[in-house]
Symmetry: C2
Subunit: 335 residues, 2 copies
DNA sequence: TGTTTCAATGTTACCGTTTACATTGTCTGA
DNA sequence: TCAGACAATGTAAACGGTAACATTGAAACA
């Protein structure tokens, strides 16, 4: 291992001078600087990051807890996180939790052991184990999309899910739909409640019933979309419009509807959520709500890093703008 | 900061005893152990990972260089990497390179600075900068799917792309196709050459021409698929079967073909590569080659970790099995 | 010329663990 | 009763940097 001592001997200076040459070159004379840099080159020296970090007590690393790596929406968020983190000199430790609390505990505890300085949670659970909960008191943590289920208010970057689903509902009402259904994602999450409330509020204003039987789902997957449609088509009163709580569900729903011999949107309109890339290119292209995933990731890092730096929290909640994307999976209600 | 010293004072023992209690409890007497563990709990002590790592000289971390986070195929690989890494006690630093050499250099240099112990490269470039190249001599590095372009042979986990594209070609020949085209991904990569060679070899055996004009593309994206089809449809001799070098390209191709008023597969057959999740649920479902992405990620970690541990390399190349998935995007050639 | 100042560099303590080596004390066996 | 063995614990030196403080020497100024 080529360490700073070897370089200092090679250059005929002290280790402090080598360190200074690399960290604050203006404190070192021109001549010495050149000498040292030459020695660095000759020895092939790169400072040991672990050693500097243990000294500074900072790892300049953040952990990101992702429920599902294959979800392209999450990956767009992570793209933003990566970009912003790199700009701020942080690196990103990936925590693929698969929704498992044990995995979450494990990754979350990295912040307790100085392996990471902060945490971004994309799921809605409080990621620390009960045993660690009190230690986790004031740790830098930010949630994106979801809201962490705990008393203490952690900053959150989110979408106005309530308004967005109201927009979707109005969009479908404008097409004359009267029979609605929803295929929801993970139950018990904040998102679930807000989106459902948004839909409910609009339908209530119009005095349109929205029965419990027409709410199905349980996961944000294509399979959940397929199973949801199979259930809905078996009901006595078949819906003419289906809210899917993300685009994966919607893709499954469209697939299942077509497989059942029905048409989208002529027989049933389908709307999604997230606006993932592929949604624009399936048949029919999906009406959905665009979430600024990349920017959400960026903001999350900015907020987290300012927390890590101990700066005061400006806003504990940031709501980013959504955009209704009207495509061809939604249309006039059948007569 | 609660450190080991505080705990040792609280327990009335030396720091060494605290360390031993946590790392090798059998060296400590029952009574002391209990005393120490109680103090650990009372102080809310968690050992500082940075400090242990600097001592051991190991970060138990691997960097993964990903050209594109949003590609679900890469994410499946990364899922396997994550899983295997966790099992082996490693964590994963994500490096989203976007194909930029500077980004690659930056992430790759983490291995030089002890921030990570090894590197998995999903792209085909040698990720170290020219200045670092000689330092990078014997660093643990594994490439997945692609082959790293350098003299020294790094272990590689890959698919038999040649055989896989031969299988696709035979599949389409079986449907009586005579006019072929390819929409390729990144030119100059190993994958590009092997897949093209596979197709060429089959067509040559059958004495079927495969002109340069019918090879188009440049990126592994939906947009490249769309642009590719637009180009191919403008040719005097329109192909009846199109090889797409990944499923994203194929999704774009199918979209563009349908938009042009043609049918898949009645007018043009389309085949993809990778078997990403959504490929089974688009209309028509995509004929493609399944790559065991998850297992490739797992194997990459296993090979990398054994390299990190200094174990001798068993095989420098592992070829994992592919599977031809015949779905409805390919069919009999039009008359 | 003597004092002050300051830039350049060296010395050394420290970050929080781990661990080789030293010490203590108890138990065993002759 | 005492040497030897061994288990339990303490002491202190690492790991590879960084930075506060100390030292040196030359320039600046009165």
């Amino acid at each position: 291992m080529t360490n700073i001592k070897k370089v200092s001997e090679l250059a005929g200076v002290s280790t402090a001078t080598v360190s200074r040459t690399l960290k604050s070159p203006d404190q070192v004379s021109q001549a010495t600087r050149e000498k040292v840099l030459e020695a660095v080159k000759a020895a092939g020296y790169r400072p040991n990051w672990l050693a500097s970090s243990v000294k500074s007590g900072r790892s300049n690393t953040i952990v990101v807890l992702v429920p599902n790596l294959v979800n392209p929406f999450f990956m767009r968020i992570i793209g933003g996180i990566e970009q912003a983190a790199q700009e701020k000199g942080f690196s990103v430790l990936l925590g693929d939790t698969q929704g498992s609390p044990e995995r979450e505990h494990e990754y979350a505890s990295m912040v307790l052991t100085n392996r990471a300085d902060g945490l971004i949670q994309l799921d809605h659970s409080f990621p620390f184990s009960a045993a660690d909960a009190d230690l986790a008191e004031d740790l830098p943590m930010v949630s994106v999309c979801e809201r962490i289920a705990t008393e203490k208010k952690y900053p959150v970057i989110e979408l106005d899910n309530y308004a967005a689903s109201r927009a979707l509902a109005h969009h479908l009402l404008g097409y004359g739909h009267k029979h609605f259904a929803a295929i929801v994602g993970q139950i018990s999450s904040q998102i679930y409640r807000e989106r459902l409330a948004g839909i409910r509020s609009v339908l209530q204003e119009e005095q349109i019933p929205f029965e419990q039987a027409q709410i199905t789902g349980g996961a944000y997957t294509i399979e959940a979309g397929i199973a949801g449609v199979e259930h809905l088509l078996s009901l006595p009163q078949r819906p003419t419009a289906i809210f899917c709580f993300n685009d994966d569900i919607a893709i499954g729903a469209v697939h299942a509807i077509k497989k059942a011999g029905l048409r989208v949107p002529e027989d049933i309109s389908v709307v999604g959520f997230d606006n993932i890339k592929v949604s624009a290119f399936i048949d029919p292209p999906l009406t959905t709500v665009d979430q600024p995933a990349y920017d959400m990731g960026r903001r999350a890092v900015e907020v987290l890093v300012s927390q890590i730096r101990g700066e005061p929290l400006v806003r504990s909640k940031e709501v980013l703008p959504f955009q209704l994307i009207e495509r061809e999976s939604s249309g006039p209600a059948p007569l």
